[in-house]
């Protein structure tokens, strides 16, 4: 056995038993230190004759490289082992609570307004607004509801003054008048907003939300009205088919006027929209009365169209299974958390209206 082979076998025997960095350092010193076994061999080189020197040097370098690699490898092993040993002691109970965070929520009314807006946006409607305090003229008279009209009895109105000239709007329809007076036809708007009636019980709140729609152009017919609402209702309830009926009714500002019912049934105490043999009224609509167009300075001989109005709160209740209207406005932390929507859940047409 040559010296080199001997060194090699000694090294191999020792390296296997190395457990720590200190052991490894000792080996490093033993073989590569000033007086290390490998170093010693290099020192021998000078005393060898030329013939042997070359071969010996080559073998020696090989062994040196081999041992160095082994030491490096061992070093990595030890480091890995040491990290793993260290991590063993760093274990936390990951099931402990996270730092507290508060979850914010969007109110169902806001969410549903965004849903509805997204649907009508596809059809080219823009959003218009008007003030909550209205004149008696805009709220009633301009909408073909003169003072002695019994239809005024259907609205329990909040007034700001004894002379009843200023009031809290009872519907979003006065915005029709404002929008038409401030622009030129065609008009294609939706108007979400707060509305007020002096009425309060289990199913009525003194304030609620309506969405008005108005489409005035040269050739808009009741067929368009039907198509528009059919599209809206299917999109809103996210169903392919829906049983829907238009039923004649009366609003002073539209003629013909209709109320729209949708079919429903109760299954496992939950309401299923679109099928079944029961009817639920969800909105009122009709062709804008020529008197309203005249009051809004639009020529009824040239322009015609439809208007509709729906209860936003009611639509929210139906879609999301909320059964108490009053709770919408009571700010109960638990209710808001339960029925509220995540702020990142923005209704869009490409992602879908609801999760």
């Amino acid at each position: 056995m040559s010296d080199l082979d001997k060194i090699n076998s000694i090294f191999n025997a020792k390296i296997d038993s190395v457990k720590t960095k200190i052991d490894l350092q000792n080996i490093k010193t033993e073989f590569f230190g000033k007086n290390g076994q490998i170093t010693q061999q290099f020192k021998k080189l000078g005393s060898l004759d030329q013939n042997k020197r070359k071969e010996f040097a080559s073998n020696l370098n090989k062994i040196k490289d081999d041992l160095t690699t082994q030491i490096e490898q061992k070093n990595l092993e030890i480091e890995n082992f040491e990290i793993n040993e260290k991590l063993k002691n760093e274990k936390v109970d990951i099931t402990l609570p996270a730092r507290t965070y508060q979850k914010g929520k969007i109110h169902p009314v806001s969410q549903v307004i965004d849903e509805i807006t997204s649907i009508f946006s596809e059809l080219g409607f823009t959003v218009a607004e008007g003030p909550d305090v209205e004149t008696e003229y805009n709220n009633f008279t301009a909408l073909n509801t003169p003072e002695d009209h019994p239809a005024r009895d259907m609205h329990d109105t909040f007034y700001l003054e004894k002379n009843k000239k200023l009031l809290l709007r009872t519907h979003t329809s006065p915005v029709q008048i404002r929008a038409m007076l401030s622009g030129k036809p065609p008009f294609k708007i939706i108007v979400p907003g707060r509305t007020y009636r002096c009425d309060s019980d289990q199913t009525h709140a003194p304030m609620f939300h309506q969405l008005e729609g108005l489409h005035i152009d040269k050739k808009i017919t009741m067929g368009h009205l039907k198509g528009c609402l059919d599209y809206f209702i299917k999109e809103f309830f996210e169903v392919k088919n829906i049983k829907m009926r238009f039923r004649p009714s009366h609003f002073p500002f539209t003629e013909p006027s209709a109320e729209v019912d949708i079919g429903y049934k109760i299954e496992n105490e939950k309401i299923v929209i679109g099928e079944g043999d029961k009817w639920l009224e969800i909105l009122g609509c009709g062709m804008v009365h020529p008197n309203v167009l005249i009051n809004a300075k639009v020529n009824p001989k040239k322009y015609q169209g439809f208007a509709f109005g729906m209860g936003i709160d009611r639509l929210a209740m139906l879609k999301y299974g909320i059964n108490d209207l009053r709770a919408f406005f009571e700010t109960d932390f638990r209710w808001l958390n339960h029925f509220g929507f995540d702020p990142l859940d923005v209704p869009t047409n490409y992602r879908g209206l609801s999760k």
């Binding site: 609570p97 304030m207 003629e255 700010t331 808001l336 702020p343």
Partner: protein, 800 residues
């Protein structure tokens, strides 16, 4: 409007069943709201057998009976009838039953110390005959013990919601006419019996020529020698079926004709009329006792029916007690008149009166129905109460010409989208009582007197499509075509700010736009209150001037329920005046309680003003504002803690107010009595956020990032306590915009080792040049400059 199917069928010949009729009513715009089954109380009366009849221990004439009432049940009943005896089969009424004669409900009671469970009935008590002697004796009914004695008959009433334009359907005949038009059956012609009118009217009637006289026509008949009495069964049953109470034959007949034909009538006791009838304006302050038992003070302009000495009735609304028809009335005046809808409406509203007659007159009664109404009612009175009728006297407008309309049939298709033929249109209109003449493309239409709602083309179009059927309209798929932005800038802000604040842990709420004046005052000092004239309750009596008025109330309610660490917000209008448009959109939030309450890992702490400041700044930045344009100052409002609140204005102190934020004033917290008193608020005023002239991408600076190393240096300044650190940071930043990239205060210290009127402020400054790595020399130079400038502008010194 309530109807019953049997009554309807007196006017409509139809093979349709109830549910088909109900559907058809709804289809033509007479919406059925409710179908009610009237409870049939008669099913309570059972056939029973007396098993034992013993003398009452405490009364000679009473017996204690044990009665077999079926289902192996025995009832103990006290009975006073002499024929009550063992083995008798009779009729038993249990507790809860209503005795037809007395209309009293039976209760379990003790009679002379013995409990009686129900009653054994006589024929008279059941309204079967006048026989009141003894209880009923039934023969051959032994096998039916326990069964109902009366055959159960259930009658349904149908409640129809009549829209305000359809006054003509406030009579059952009008509804029948509409149904017949839709093909649901045939309208049966009215049967008119000729009445004998043997003498001239005995009382002079006149309509005085007042300004805005509310009565346009007044017809009447004098009927003498009647015997007023209880109405016959058929008439009573009819009124009962609509839920009305029969009174006497004459009154019942006038009601019957009103509900049947939509023709209100009134009867006066002729003997109580002082000389003559004058229809005139009321005098201001004139008093009158109406049939509802109330005394009304009248105003000028109200139309009254009067005699020489006083008011007899409010025309078309309610009669008076002075001439009311009683059972002993012998001679009557029967009235059928026409009052103008607006006059009726005004009077009734001023007096807060609502009657069936008023409801009909204000919707428009058929002015041509005066003589018809008189004829039919007089006929009924003569046949039920006897007597003799006078000739009718009709004063005022007795004839009114019907209105005509020329209708171009193409207008139908233009509005509805489907066409209708001339013949079909004519058929529909004729069946509704219109008269029509065809010519080319046109119908010449005569509008019936009972349809005051029909005035123009669209009214005709509505009639046609209503009867033809809304289901015939073909729907046209909507175009998906967007030419304009759906939302304008302010609307986008509204939408974005909601989601921005919610994403910071706030729950969105929606509260009333009105609030309690007492709370609103707390948050809006010095501004004028906006009262609601007729609030829904005393504590919701003003429009809110602050977004906090309701938020605070609801925050308190949640705290009271035990939820104390809570963040709420609302976005909506607040008001600053009572005129339309005196409002602005405010995003308001309240945050209360602690952060990290009972945390295993962090020290819990109170929410503080810098939490709310962070929320308000981040929200404004998310709304598109540049961080550098947000000027924070201690300018604040009364509703905040004066030392722990501030505002954010645009660019400088003089800029528009974007927001207020801070701790809610402790005095308000005390007044509202919050359980958890650590409460902070923020208000963002959307109207003050400027709309950028260009899209963001067009105004953004070109991206340049320095590749050279950045350095940081810390400074500790001793500075006047009152000096604002925001300003100090600003001063440092402005020293060299190209080198100083960031300035951040990381410690503020007051106390030991620092003079009393000073504070120590530790500031970290980040330095970086665009063109080179800064050398020690460069850095020393700029640091020296910072120290010098700060000293010069603020008087601060470096802490050694």
């Amino acid at each position: 409007m309530i109807i019953t199917i049997p009554w309807l069928k007196e006017h409509l010949k139809t093979n349709l069943g109830e549910s088909e009729i109900v559907n058809q009513l709804t289809n033509i715009g007479l919406e059925v709201e409710r179908i009610t089954e009237r409870q049939d109380k008669s099913k309570n009366f059972k056939i029973a057998k007396i098993l034992k009849a013993e003398k009452h221990p405490n009364a000679d004439k009473l017996k204690v009976c044990e009665v077999d009432i079926g289902d192996e049940k025995i009832a103990k009943v006290i009975c006073g009838a002499s024929n009550a005896r063992e083995g008798l089969v009779t009729i038993y009424a249990p507790p809860g039953a209503v005795i037809p004669k007395t209309k009293l409900e039976l209760k379990i009671s003790k009679i002379r110390g013995v409990e009686s469970n129900g009653m054994l009935c006589s024929e008279s008590e059941l309204n079967l005959s006048n026989e009141s002697e003894g209880i009923i004796e039934l023969k051959n009914k032994e096998s039916q013990i326990g069964k109902n004695y009366f055959k159960s008959k259930t009658e349904k009433t149908i409640d129809i919601s009549i829209t305000p334009n359809r006054g003509d359907c406030l009579g059952i005949r009008g509804i029948a006419r509409d149904l017949s038009s839709s093909g649901a059956g045939k309208l049966i012609p009215l049967k008119k019996k000729k009445i004998k009118q043997s003498f001239k009217h005995l009382i002079k009637t006149s309509i005085r020529k007042d300004r805005n006289q509310g009565c346009l026509s007044f017809g009447s008949c004098y009927i003498k020698g009647i015997t007023n009495k209880e109405s016959p069964e058929w008439l009573k049953n009819k009124l009962i079926s609509l839920g009305l109470k029969p009174i006497s034959a004459v009154v019942d007949i006038t009601n019957y004709v009103m509900f049947d034909l939509n023709r209100p009538l009134h009867s006066y006791d002729a003997d109580k009329i002082d000389s003559e009838i004058i229809i005139r304006d009321a005098k201001e302050g004139e008093e009158f006792e109406a049939l509802d038992g109330k005394n009304y003070k009248l105003k000028k302009g109200m139309c009254v029916i009067a005699d020489k000495s006083s008011v007899l009735g409010l025309g078309g609304i309610i009669g008076g007690t002075k001439t009311s028809t009683e059972l002993d009335t012998k001679n009557i005046i029967l009235e059928a008149a026409y009052f103008s809808p607006s006059s009726i409406r005004k009077t009734a509203r001023d007096l807060s009166l609502d009657t069936d007659a008023k409801y009909r007159f204000e919707r428009g009664i058929d002015p041509e129905s005066i003589s018809e109404g008189l004829e039919i009612a007089t006929g009924l009175i003569l046949s039920i109460c006897g007597g003799h009728a006078s000739k009718f006297m009709i004063t005022g407008q007795s004839y009114r010409k019907n209105n005509f309309l020329k209708f171009d049939i193409d207008k139908f298709e233009k509005l509805i989208g489907i066409s209708i033929g001339l013949t079909e249109a004519q058929k529909i209109l004729v069946s509704l009582g219109f008269k029509c003449k065809k010519s080319k493309n046109e119908l010449k239409i005569e509008i019936p007197s009972w349809r005051p709602d029909i005035k123009q083309d669209v009214d005709i179009i509505e009639e046609l499509i209503r009867i033809k059927g809304f289901n015939k309209i073909e729907l046209i798929e909507p175009e998906r075509n967007r030419k304009k932005d759906t939302l304008n800038f302010k609307q986008k802000l509204f939408h974005l700010s909601q989601r921005s604040l919610a994403s910071k842990g706030y729950l969105e709420t929606v509260t009333w736009s009105f609030t309690d004046s007492k709370i609103d005052k707390q948050f809006s000092k010095g501004e004028k209150e906006i009262f609601i004239f007729n609030p829904i309750s005393a504590d919701l009596n003003v429009l809110r001037r602050s977004i906090f008025s309701n938020l605070s109330t609801h925050l308190k309610k949640n705290q009271d329920r035990g939820y104390e660490d809570i963040s709420l917000f609302e976005i909506g209008p607040t008001f600053f005046g009572k005129n339309p448009g005196d409002q602005q959109v405010v995003l308001g939030a309240m945050k209360s309680g602690k952060i990290g309450r009972k945390s295993w890992i962090d020290q819990e702490r109170n929410v503080d003003v810098f939490d709310i400041k962070g929320d308000v700044l981040k929200t404004l930045i998310e709304l598109g504002l540049d961080e550098n344009d947000l000027f924070v100052s201690e300018k604040t409002k009364d509703c905040y803690h004066p030392g722990r609140s501030g505002s954010i204005t645009l660019k400088s102190e003089k800029g528009a107010t974007l927001a207020y934020f801070g701790e809610i004033h402790p005095a308000i917290i005390k007044k509202i009595d919050f359980k958890q008193q650590n409460i902070f608020g923020l208000e963002i005023f959307l109207k003050n956020i400027p709309e950028p002239k260009k899209k963001n991408r067009l105004t953004k600076k070109i991206f340049k990032a320095s590749d050279f190393q950045k350095s940081e240096r810390d400074f500790a300044f001793i500075i006047d306590k009152i000096f604002k650190i925001g300003l100090l940071e600003k001063i440092i930043k402005e020293i060299d915009f190209s080198l100083i990239q960031d300035v951040n205060t990381f410690d503020v210290y007051e106390g030991e080792n620092i003079p009393k009127d000073k504070k120590s402020v530790a500031i970290n400054v980040t330095l970086q040049a665009a063109d080179k790595t800064l050398s020690e020399k460069d850095i020393d130079q700029i640091c020296k400059k910072i120290v010098e400038v700060v000293k010069e502008k603020t008087g601060a010194t470096i802490r050694s």
